[in-house]
Symmetry: C2
Subunit: 147 residues, 2 copies
């Protein structure tokens, strides 16, 4: 296995978890900056050609693992792997962002849902989605239907 | 930072990297099994309601970092964060799979592109994509256009 290391840090308007729109279905339109460390900047070469990116990051302020938990978008408990809870066996977060522009080692993006200062582990190009008509959204669709 | 730990392992038809359809735009239709360790199985509760999952896994057979490299789908070098190269600062892979069925701790899925025995770090529900008409695919689109 490996020990994680930050390739950069998130500049986000969210300073505390209470400010972040919560839940599996929450919409994230906040703008932020992915500040990549100078030693990794060359790894961003040609990234500006992609409109959307996967950002893989660390829940660095999560302090425990909880295999079952109640997410903000439901009043029932679900397995951690069926939610986006921060209390995961590996504290890894995943966010799809829209790349607005690049300034050297700074990627200006829309769609951040991380806390300010969150360590970034990886960035990958986002290439395609699953067609909406083929998607089933499990307990979230049920929770939404219940109101 | 954290030290990664496997929550399970991938059962895949691919025993060597040469067998895996390569490149950012490769289509992956292979079926495989995500075998989750018994101690983490309760974390799968309610996962069967989702049609598609993100699988976060470890490039456990990658032996170095390469910030610039030539991907299989192009004859030009690109930054590692604009590719899916295994030679990443954090050796983390990401795959979207379709969940076919669950048998206890075994998730039968379509769309694996990992080697057999790959350690799984996390699973998250896949909820929505970016509309194709809003997506730009950077150097990959250019490489495809060049033929």
């Amino acid at each position: 296995m490996f020990t994680s290391r930050a390739i950069g840090f998130v500049g986000s308007p969210y300073k505390s978890t209470g400010e972040i729109p919560k839940g599996l279905g929450a919409k994230h339109a906040a703008e932020g900056v992915l500040k990549i460390l100078p030693e990794f900047e060359v790894g961003l070469t040609d990234i500006e050609g992609f409109s959307h990116l996967f950002v893989i990051w660390e829940f660095d302020r999560s302090d425990r693992v909880e295999l079952m938990g109640k997410p903000p978008s439901d009043n029932r408990a679900h397995g951690v792997f069926a939610t986006r809870s921060p209390r995961r066996p590996n504290p890894i977060g995943l966010t799809v962002v829209e790349l607005l522009r690049r300034d050297g080692g700074e990627l200006h993006v829309r769609g951040v849902d991380m806390l300010d200062g969150t360590p970034i582990l990886d960035i990958k190009p986002y290439l395609s989605g699953v067609a909406m008509e083929k998607l089933r959204r499990g307990w979230l669709a049920e929770a939404e239907a219940r109101g």
